[in-house]
Amino acid sequence: MSEEMLKLTIDKFTFRVPKGLYFNDAGAWVRLEGSVARLGLSDFAQQRSGDMAFAEVKPVETLLKPGDEFASVETIKVNVILPSPVTGAIAEINTALEDAPELINQDPYGKGWLVVVELTDWDSDKTKLLDADAYYALIKVQAEEEVKKS
């Protein structure tokens, strides 16, 4: 999948932010695909969280509104509950993550996707999300703060 990428390099880390995607401030990304949206965990969020041990997503037909948990991941460092960035019903889940949660680390915007949601209120959801430029600015601040702490 070829998407134009913003790249943020802080210290020894490089974080990729695809143009055209939307994000919530927890690091969930949204890629519009017609009337559905594919969701995943951003490159910044996965690198910050560490190597994935387990990834669990809510089952198909689960109804979501922004802020509802749609997935959780356990890494070698933290347990992360991911709030949904959109309203709708889960239509598909990435079953490959059951055996290979490391796909989230290896390919966060591709094979490491989490769920597909049938959207029901995108026009409203979109107003609460960050575009790539805004998310880039957010993670730049967060990454610089982490570097100062280390």
Binding site: G50, D51, A53, I76, E102, N105
Partner: protein, 152 residues
């Protein structure tokens, strides 16, 4: 002449999974298979210690990595050893989800039990290697060396 399988764990400094790797290696080399295994500290390989490199060079090694950087596996290969098996603590944890490790200097109970489970997996690999006739196993004298180096 003792035929030994070389065990090289993550240095285990600063992270729970590294500590599990190191503790699991101790269980294998000190308790479960002291006669057929030899611990080689990763820190000595990183520092270029001649004896450690000699122990690894040409030997069959089992590496135990604490994270995806896989320092143990990389250093054994760089030191001329043969990585017969490379284990990752994270993979072992995925098979034992109830054994969540935490703690660094001192592992919690889950971490200690995970180290034991890891050791049992290593032992089965050691036994298979030790009984193979044609493998060029390490011929050096074993014994636990110190592991006071840094994370590689």
């Amino acid at each position: 002449m003792t035929r030994r399988v070389v065990i090289v764990p993550c240095s285990g400094i600063g992270k729970s999974y590294g500590t599990v790797a190191r503790e699991g290696a101790y269980v294998v080399t000190e308790d479960l298979r002291p006669d057929t295994t030899q611990l080689v500290p990763l820190s000595l390989l990183v520092l270029g210690d001649e004896q450690a490199r000699a122990d690894v060079s040409g030997a069959q090694a089992i590496t135990i990595d604490g994270c995806k950087l896989a320092c143990a596996t990389k250093m054994v290969a760089e030191s001329g050893g043969t990585v017969a098996h490379d284990l990752a603590v994270l993979d072992v944890y995925r098979r034992h989800r109830d054994l969540k490790p935490s703690g660094i200097a001192e592992l919690n109970e889950g971490g200690q039990r995970l180290a034991q489970a890891l050791a049992e997996e290593v032992v089965s690999l050691v036994d298979a290697l030790s009984t193979a006739d044609s493998l060029p196993l390490s011929q050096s004298d074993g014994g636990r060396a110190g592991d006071g180096g840094q994370d590689a």
